[in-house]
Every structure is written in C-alpha cells, then in structure tokens.
Subunit: 500 residues, 2 copies
C-alpha cells in the first residue's frame, strides 16, 4: 500500500451487483482527485484492517454526501462493515495470476500452478468480471488440452471444500445438458439408495429453464439443507436429493459458470472440470455421466459425445474418480410435465407404478440407475438394470423415496395451479416436431419455476397421431393475468407443435 | 419485445459506470419477480419510445422506493430521460454478433462483415463490458491474421466518422508507446505546417502517465476544439494540435481500448487497427509511425518492431493510407521535464533555439518532421530533415507554432509550480539507470497531470558523471501536503536513479 489519504465514512446503499465488489465514491471527493481514480478502476479498499479489491463506480451527486463512500452488497457483507466505518483506499497492482491468463491468450499451455493461482484469485474475489471473462474466453472452445483440463479440475478441487463420507463406495450421477422434463434424479436416487448404496445427490435450480431438478424436488420436500443436515439424511437413508447451491462446494466454478452463461460460451474443458470437481467435492467415488445426444440437446452429434466421453474418463482417472459414461437418446423431451410440480407428478407416477406413468421417464431412470449399480459392483452390463427394475416395480423405490423426503423434512403432494387453459389441434395429422425452446418459454411465461405449480402438461409427443380438437397441451397458471401473457405469446408464435 | 408489464418511474441516482448502461431496480419489484430478472442480466429498457440494452443491478432497500428504477449516468444521458419518466422492461435475445466472437474463440478467421457487425453493436452499446472483454481476449496477442487486421481496421473506419479536408496531401505522425517526456508533436506540427503542408494532429490525454501530449499542449493553448473550430485553424494555419477525445472519431476504439487497459492486454492487430483507423478518420493520407525500441519502451526488440512495421505498411496500403515507419532509439527518456508544463518548457526551448535546449528532443523532432516531409514529396531520405532543420533553426517553426496557438485560442507561457524540492546525489559516480516507471510515478504523486505545473525536472541522464550533492532532479508541486506524499514515496523507493 502506498500514499493512503484520509478515510471516507461508509454509508449503506444496498446495491446488489451479484458477486462483484463495487465501491461507490463521489466524483469530487479528495481521494478520487488526489489518487486519480476513475470509474472502473480496480482499487484496494480497507475497513477495520481487512482489505478487498473492488471496482470503482463514481457517483456524481445525490445519494452520497461529501466524505461518504459505499460498497455493493457482497463487498459490504464480505468485509463485515457497518454504516459509519472508516474506509481507506489505495491503488493496487494488477492481479498477478492475470499474467497466466494473458499467456493463455498467446496459446501457451498453462500448468497446474497457473490454474491454482488463477482460481485462488477468483475465489478471493480479486478478479473483476471482465478479468473472469478474459479467463473464460482464453480457455473457451477446445483451447484446453488434456493435461490442462486435468490441471483445471485439480485446481477447482483444491480451492473448494470436500465432503468426506468415510465410505469406500459413494455413488453419483450427472446429466450433461438436461432435456425438458428429464427428471430421473429422484427416481435414480431412490432406487440406488434402496439397493443399499450411498448416493448424496446435489442438484441445481433453474437458471434459464422452467425448472431445475432442485426446484422440482422442492415441490415434494425441502432441499435447502446444510452440510450437517445432509450428513444426517445420508446416515439414516443412504441417499438424498438437495440443492447444491446451499453448500457451495465449488466456489470458483460458481463464479466462472455465471460469466460463461452471461457470454453464452461453452467450454469443453471447463465443463468437464466443473462437473468432475463438484463430484469430488461431494465426496463421490463412482459417477455415471449421462450425455443425451440430439438436435435440441446440448450435445448435438455422436462424435462430440464420444470426445466428451473420452475426456470424462481420462480426467476422472487422473483425479481418482471412477466414471462411466452413457450416451443416450436426446431427440425429444422426457415425461409430460414442464414446470416444477408438473414434473414432480411425473416422478411420483413412475415411483407409484401407475398405469399411465410416462414410460420414457421410467425407462431412462432404470437405464441410469442400472448403470450406477453396475459401476458400483463392477457387474456385467444389464445386471444393474434388472436389480433397479425389481426395486422400482416392487415399490421399494417409492418407500425409500418417501423415507428420504421424511428425513429431509417431510413429504408434500404437489398440486396443480388454479387456472388452466387447454390448447387443442386445429387440424388432423401427425406431430412432426415439438419446439422445446418455445414450449419451455411458454412454461416460463405461465410462471414456472417461481410459481411451482405453473407450467405445461404435454398430451402428445413426436410421431403421435392427432385429430382435430384433440388436446395438445394444458397451460397451468396461478393468476389469470399471467395466463394472458402466455396466451399472447402463444398467439404470436405459430407452430410450437408442428402437425403435418 | 414480449411480455411487457406495467412501467416503473425513473429516479435520478447519478451513478457513473463509465460507458456501461446499468439499470437499477428494487429486488422485490413486480417486474423483477414476474420477469425473473437477476443482477447482471442484460435487459432491454424503453423510455419515451427509445430503447437501450442495460445490465441490471438489483438494489435491496433504501435508495429506491417501490415503483422506482434508475439508470447509470451514460444510460440516463443516452436515453435523454428525466425524473418521473416511465421505464419499460423486457427480456432480450443475446446480441447476434457475439456468434462471431464465439467462433473466434474456436480460432475461426473472421470476415469483414463479422467485424462490422461486432463493432456496430459495440458502438451501439449493445455489448456489456464482459462481452467486450471476450472480444478483446479472443483477438488478443497475435490471434488476428493479416486479412483480419485489415477487416478490423476497415470496420473501425466504417463505424466512426471521417473528416474531409478536400486536399490531396494530409500529413500525420504517430508514436507507438511514447517515452517519458518525448513531446515531439508540437515541434513536428509547427515545422510541417511552416513548410506549407496540412497536418491536423489530434493527441490523447494521460491515462496512466504523468502527461499526455494534449495535457502538455494545454499548458500553452486550448486543445478542446470542436470539429468546426479545428477546420478554422487548419484553414488559417495548415496545422493544429488538439485533443482527439473531444471529436470522438473512433467510438468503437475508445470502448475497446478502455477494456484492453483494464485487462492490461496488448493486441498487435487491435493496436494497428486503432492507430490507422484514427488516421483515416482524421482525414490523413500520409502518416509517419515512430516505433521507439528499448527496455522501457512499449516495443522491446528490433524483431517485434520489424513485424509491426510490416503490418502497418500492409494494412495502411489496404485502407489507402501511405505509411512510413521509423524504428527509433527508445532506451531512455527524451527531454528533461516530466509533467505537462515542464515538458512544454522543453518544447518551447527547442522552438526558441535556446542554447540549453534539450538536444535529444530537438534531434528526434527533426528526424520525424524530416520523414513526414520526405513522405509527402516522395523525396530522397535526408532531404526532408534538411528542410526541417532550416525551418526550425531560422525561427519559422516558432512563428508557426505561435500562430497555431493564436488560432486555437491564444498562447500562455507555462509556469513552474509554487513548491520545489531538490534531490541531490548522495555519492559520486556515473548514472547507470533512470527507472522511468518510478520517476513517472513520482511525477504523478507530485500532482501531474492534474496539476499542470507539477512534475519532475531531470538534471542528469544515463552515462552522466555526478559528484556528491550534485542536483539529480527537482520535484515541483502546488501544495506542501502533496509534496509530503511524494517525499514519502521517495524515501521508500531507493535507486530511482542508480549511480555507480
């Protein structure tokens, strides 16, 4: 630190910039003048002897008075400050590990140490968002080689925490780029746990989709469990299905993924590192990775899927994780519901062995559960699926599912939303396509995932015959006003379901 | 646009985020809830039928009341809004040209159309800072090939404006990575204009240095001229030396350079495109590019300089600009002053042919002015320098300089700052090194460039003999308090000047 001046006093403004530390100062304050600070400068701020790096936003007048400064929500909380605390400022050198990011721009291969320093600095919030964007971009596409992906994965593991179950076998599953409605997780967890294996499953919430697995499960049982609570559930029932965001096992990955999403950038290497580091962090030893391949799926060709499969296995081996990869059919949605409660009803219908349960969801869940069991006991292919089917069809999976829900805080039956609107065929023909993107959008306009019970219930599928006025799908909403939004969209967008 | 809801009312907060459009909304406002907006989302906001894309920052409580929203300074001004205006929100698709940025991450070569769309979207403020960072990173280092650099340069020219002088010969000069004190520009402009050629020179202000050329000239004459005023000056005197930032000839470049600086990323291609597009925009036809090579200069090896030279010539030819490149000695500072007024005194001393004028500055200025004249008349090498020397030494350059200053608004003699502090040698020996980075830092701590008269006056140079107590340099400041800062730094940093 150098040339510190008189401090300013903190005033609370409550501006949420998500993960970025932002400091707000008046344009004409003596510190901006004497230090030559400008908007977007990165400065070192110190309060009560603790320091963080923050991005400067300069305020012209009004909400701050002379002698005052403020911090964005995350900086305010990370520094544990209160109004009136004195805040000191100084210039800061560039973050050291950005050297490695810059050399990556020149296509130099990075070492494990490089990745370790970069991820440490990212977790310590030393990177501005544009610096994270530069890292993400430099590593995007297929710019990371095999050894770099391994190094990145190890670095991600090192900067996070790791759960320890003191068991030799801890099972897990992961689906790369989920299909709409494809909620196999609660069924797979119930089957595998009922078979006597440990499967501490964490899932995500929806970001841009109408429902994440955690949102779906939350319509039946609490998912915001602490690590201690998760340990209790596993001790009792072998399995759980909770929200991963509550435990923050891979903090670097959380920051990187946010920028990747904002840029809509895919990175093979970062995706593999992200998935496998989270599995290691969750304490898993054996993982089945499901890669659905199809026109509307994340992975579009068999060739891409094979490449991913190779990397998952090689990197898994390097970090001590046994990985089995399934390449599955991703050509159309699985199940009927789109939206948390409607998807949960599909799940319960399969677990309860109801006659009209969606068979595609049942078979996909059995395939994955079977692969998990095969991987665990190193059995021949197919044996696991036989075990899984017996557990599901005998009702043992349902019993285990209900027991896990009880352990997580109780079971609630999901319910339909108050209002519904039926969309019917205007002509006779064959369903040739269901536009997943637009049907998902419609479900979101109906209120999913925030309104758990809102969404779409499909009543047809690709290749089905429909007659005039046959029911194609039902829109469920909580408010008539919201239903109007959805109907407006429906009117504007022709051919969400194509009938020929 | 889709699913617009009831509007919010604008409240002024005055938060300056530099060039990024930010919209501030309350966390629990009905729009965030119904649209599922989160911090950092990019949203389309519409006020009085005009729309911009903005990054969302969510405010928890306090500075906004229910039903209110606010915009950052640049968004507020670009939309020309006032308090109480109704602001509408909607989701927006990803910016289309980001497709091209993503394909660049996969090392695909971009077309002129690709660059055109990207730069158009950047100028229209459609890119968030992290998206600009992704573009900068994908094109950083030597990731652009020759045809891409040409396309980028053409696109930069197309998205900006272009001055037209209706003359066949419009001359210009540019220095790549200036050395401390190297203020040849006002001398070169005076000589070339006195020789009868048109030279409408725009310069930049200091960003991280103790003085930019525009700051130095401003201690003698106004530099904030409008395009109309520049045209008047050129009509009268053939030459001008004004601040380029006032005319915004290359708006895309301004945004890109800001992010490059924040990332400390160099890009050969972007630098060439930036320099040449600005010359074309200024209406120049013939340009001399000076590339100083040295340990403390921007370009460090002869080989790098040769590569740059090649690209400058090839790209220049492609956009119809005649380019001559000088590779010069960049091993030490040029002139004695560091800080606007002190550098201006060096310039005047050379123009006035004073006996103790810094000879290194004089010779460098003659070398460049000579090359500009040679380029203009296509004369043999050396002839231009003879003409230049005659113009300078006869006093014609001084007369022209004063005439240009009068045309720009009048001449003022630069003055020394009130306080000074002399730093003397503590031992006898030879000066082996002057740390340019730290001497520049000291000049900044003394108040340069904001205090025009503040800075450092060097009284020695590399290879000079010094006796004990000989004067090494003088620090000039406006306030005793600021002098104390500088002295504290001086005490902490040994060997800013090394004597052996």
């Amino acid at each position: 630190m150098e040339a510190t001046a008189d401090p300013l006093k903190l005033k609370y403004l409550g501006i949420d910039t998500l993960n970025e530390h932002v400091v707000y100062m008046l344009k004409d304050c003596h510190i901006c003048l004497s230090e030559g600070f400008e908007s977007l400068n990165r400065v070192l701020v110190t309060v009560n002897s603790y320091s963080i790096i923050a991005t400067l936003n300069i305020i012209k007048e009004g909400i701050l008075k002379e002698g005052e400064a403020s911090l964005s929500e995350c900086a305010w909380h990370n520094l544990k400050v209160k109004e009136g605390d004195k805040i000191y400022f100084s210039h800061l050198p560039l973050v050291n590990s950005m050297h490695a990011v810059r050399s990556k721009m020149y296509r130099k291969s990075l070492s494990e140490n490089d990745f370790q320093s970069i991820l440490k600095d990212i977790v310590d919030e030393k990177y501005s968002n544009i610096e994270v964007a530069a890292f993400v971009t430099a590593c995007a596409g297929d710019n990371l080689n095999e050894s770099e992906i391994i190094s990145l994965t190890k670095a991600m593991i090192n900067v996070g925490q790791k759960l320890n179950w003191n068991k030799e076998l801890v099972l897990d599953k992961h689906c790369v780029g989920g299909l709409p409605g494809n909620r196999t997780t609660p069924i797979v967890v119930a089957i595998v746990a009922a078979a006597g294996y440990t499967i501490p499953k964490t899932s995500s919430r929806a970001i841009t989709s109408p429902a994440g697995t955690a949102d779906t499960i939350e319509t039946m049982t609490p998912v915001n469990l602490s690590i201690e609570q998760i340990k209790e559930v596993i001790k009792k029932e072998n399995g759980c299905f909770v929200w991963g965001g509550n435990v923050k096992l891979s903090p670097a990955d959380d920051i990187i993924i946010r920028i990747e999403r904002a840029l809509d950038v895919d990175s093979e290497g970062q995706m593999i590192a992200s998935v496998l580091s989270k599995k290691i962090a969750a304490g898993s030893t054996h993982v089945v990775i499901d890669i659905p391949v199809g026109k509307t799926a994340k992975v579009r060709t068999e060739q891409d899927a094979e490449k991913l499969k190779y990397y998952f296995k090689v990197v898994g081996r390097a970090v001590g994780l046994k990985v089995k990869v399934l390449i599955t059919d991703g050509s159309q949605p699985i199940g009927r519901g789109i939206g948390p409660a409607l998807e949960a009803m599909d799940v319960l219908s399969v677990l309860r062995n109801e006659a009209n349960a969606p068979q595609d969801l049942k078979e996909r869940a059995l395939q994955i559960a079977g692969a998990v069991i095969d991987l665990a006991v190193n059995s021949t292919k197919g044996k696991g699926e036989i075990i899984a089917r017996e557990i599901l069809e005998s009702g043992k999976a349902l019993t285990k599912f209900m027991a896990i829900c009880q352990a997580q805080g109780g079971f609630t039956e999901p319910t339909y939303a108050k209002y519904k609107y039926e969309v019917r065929a205007t002509s006779i023909g064959i369903v040739t396509e269901i536009d997943n993107r637009r049907i998902a959008k419609l479900a979101k306009l109906a209120g999913a995932p925030k309104d758990h019970a809102a969404g779409i219930l499909l009543n047809t599928m690709v290749n089905a015959k429909v007659g005039k006025d046959d029911l194609l799908f039902t829109i469920y909403t909580h408010h008539n006003g919201i239903l109007n939004y959805a109907l407006e969209y429906l009117k504007a967008e022709k051919n969400i379901i194509t009938i020929q």
